[in-house]
């Protein structure tokens, strides 16, 4: 077991994204979904928040979790990202139960951009992004050539190379969100979670972040799982949506098919029209 881990370490220092691919090819779980949730239950005290959630996340796709406030989507997100532990049920990452992975092992396979972030006032973009290498390092270990390469790559992909020496506190909201995404990318994982990545941003930066997410998915094949509030953005940018209500999955699948006037009524309890402009589906959310 120990030597197997060591081997993985060696390959991962050569090229993380490629080695993950190589590894997953040999893996007997290769044809398993990126993530699978089976009969998940969770409650805060007596308040049952999740009542038997089961779902599959397809590899290489963008999946958006949506639903009204209090439907359990944040709890589901926390459980899938190992921030909470399920009372009952299991979560599998490529067929492996995530409960059997420690935080560090999990962080080498799954990166998470949390909804609310903060950092010290004077940290530079590059130093903050470099935190993303933490799960690949031992304590006190400096940056290897591989770490450097991943940091440069993450900065380039998020268009932050020019801002690398600037303090994060001096960036705009949209740029700051890109820094947190860059930090997550730096972990070199094939799966990326984002919790309401557009919440604190104005519309221009919202679109910018969603386009970046799409680019990460299309160019680098990263599996994306995110929570979004805006139904139209969910339709436009997701391959799959998961609609939740009262701690259960109500709809699951291609937004073109599953987002309808009926499903919106059930999910949000409001009558909204659904129309098409240039062949694209829109919900009249006003």
């Amino acid at each position: 077991m120990r030597s197997k881990e060591k081997n993985m370490d060696l390959t991962s220092t050569e090229n993380i994204l490629d080695s993950e691919k190589k590894f997953s090819k040999k893996d007997k779980w290769a044809d398993k979904p990126a993530m699978e949730v089976r009969d998940l239950h969770f409650s805060y005290g007596k308040n049952k928040v999740l009542k038997g959630v089961s779902l599959k996340i397809e590899e290489g796709k963008i999946t958006t979790i949506m639903g009204a406030n209090g439907c359990g989507k944040s709890t589901l997100f926390s459980l899938m990202t190992k921030n909470l532990y399920p009372r009952k049920g299991n979560i599998f990452l490529k067929g492996k139960n995530v409960q059997n992975l420690n935080l560090k092992e999990f962080a080498r396979k799954v990166a998470i951009v949390q909804q609310y972030n903060s950092a010290s006032d004077d940290i530079t973009v590059e130093n903050l992004v470099a935190f993303g290498r933490t799960p690949h390092k031992k304590m006190m270990q400096g940056d290897s050539a591989e770490d450097e390469r991943m940091i440069q790559w993450a900065l380039e992909v998020t268009n932050l190379t020019e801002y690398r020496d600037r303090e994060v506190s001096r960036l705009s909201g949209g740029q700051r969100q890109r820094v947190w995404i860059a930090m997550a990318l730096c972990q070199g994982t094939k799966t990326l979670f984002l919790d309401e990545p557009t919440t604190y941003l104005d519309i221009r930066y919202q679109i910018e972040i969603l386009q970046l997410v799409k680019k990460l998915n299309q160019e680098f094949g990263i599996t994306i799982i995110m929570v979004l509030h805006d139904i139209n953005q969910a339709i436009a940018y997701s391959d799959n949506v998961i609609g939740m209500k009262d701690g259960k999955v109500l709809v699951e699948g291609d937004p073109e098919e599953v987002i309808t006037e009926e499903s919106i009524r059930e999910l949000y309890g409001i009558e909204l029209g659904v129309t098409r402009v240039d062949g694209r589906k829109f919900v009249l959310a006003v």
Partner: protein, 362 residues
């Protein structure tokens, strides 16, 4: 730059900043970064020079005076009565001042990182008085266990910390609540120590020394008590500087990077309690040092703990030695303890910080 990236750049900046401007800005950032690095490097060098200068000044301040060559000669080459007296009487308190100053300052840095609160100070939040009370208990009731005083002081500090942490936890740690609960815990332990002192007739020099932070009569034995703990504490603090940096992120974010945040909190807290308690056991309760030093340190070397921790150690050693040296010259032949000097200077400083900080004193 590839076509796609240029396109995205256009989309993201929507033509507000041209590429030439962007290059210019990144040049400015670079220059700014270099200025900061230079400032930090100069701060370190100046601090080391000042500390060495103060050390020799402190050696020479008092009724006995020797020249620098005489001192070196007396220490390393040939016996000299004056130098020997200075070595036995002044050196221990100087070394203790520096070690305790370094320990308390670094303890402050660590508490601030763990509690995410720039106003946390082992003196203010009651860690030192918890440690002090335990030390007083041992001195009063089991003087034969004197050798284990540091250990009991540490346990006292742990009890105080657990009290402050658990009592100020209310679904989260509010910076102000930590200070308020800390002040109450501090008052309680200080009262207990003073009460114990009074009950014993108030003339127990050992107890009084711990309560009042008196380091007049320190010997090389006290130095030997302090050295191993302080060195272990400082080395551990240096090892965990990277983790302190990660704790500056939101807990959830640090966790998503594979960091066991709660475990790190406990470990770093225990290092901070160790440093504060040990110095309290030998040098008494010193308030505000762990607050002032890291605060100025952040302005000079930045908030990266890899620089802040070693700088605070040097700066803390300097400030404590300065306070002790001023204390024994300001009203010679009477002595004012370093603890009193720190309180008189530190109190106003703390109020200024409170008033200037938008975040913590609404």
């Amino acid at each position: 730059m590839s076509e796609k990236e240029t396109e995205l750049e256009k989309a993201t900046e929507s033509g507000r900043i041209s590429e030439a401007d962007a290059a210019d800005l990144s040049g400015q950032d670079k220059a700014r970064k270099h200025r900061k690095t230079a400032k930090a490097a100069i701060s370190f060098i100046v601090m080391i020079v000042l500390l060495v200068a103060l050390f020799f000044a402190a050696v020479n301040i008092g009724s006995l005076k020797v020249s620098f060559p005489e001192l070196l000669k007396g220490l390393f080459v040939k016996y000299n009565e004056d130098v020997a007296t200075i070595y036995d009487l002044r050196f221990p308190r100087i070394v203790i001042s520096m070690l305790a100053g370094a320990a308390i300052a670094v303890s402050g840095v660590l508490f601030q990182a763990v509690l995410k609160n720039p106003l946390a100070d082992p003196g203010i939040i009651g860690i030192s008085s918890g440690a002090s009370f335990a030390a007083v208990l041992i001195t009063a009731f089991a003087p034969t266990l004197f050798f284990f005083t540091p250990l009991f002081a540490f346990l006292g500090g742990v009890v105080a910390f657990v009290l402050v942490y658990s009592l100020s936890w209310k679904g989260g740690l509010s910076p102000l609540r930590i200070i308020l609960v800390g002040v109450a815990v501090d008052a309680m332990f200080t009262g207990l120590s003073s009460g114990l002192n009074s009950m014993n007739g108030g003339d127990m020099s050992g107890v009084a020394a711990i309560v009042n932070g008196n380091i007049t009569m320190k010997t090389w034995d006290d130095v030997r008590t302090l050295v191993p703990y302080v060195i272990v504490g400082l080395v551990l603090a240096l090892i965990f500087t990277g983790m302190c940096n990660l704790l500056s992120l939101e807990d959830k974010t640090a966790r998503s990077l594979g960091v066991n945040v709660n475990l790190m909190r406990i470990i770093i807290s225990m290092i901070a309690v160790l440093l504060a308690s040990i110095s309290t056991a030998v040098a008494g309760v010193i308030s505000f040092l762990g607050l002032i030093v890291p605060h100025i340190g952040r302005l000079l070397v930045g908030s990266d703990h890899r620089a802040l921790v070693p700088f605070s150690a040097l700066f803390g050693a300097f400030i404590f030695l300065l306070a002790d040296t001023i204390g024994r010259t300001i009203a010679a032949p009477y002595e004012v303890s370093a603890a009193i000097i720190m309180s008189v200077v530190g109190g106003p400083f703390f109020i200024i910080l409170l008033r200037r900080s938008k975040k913590y004193a609404k």
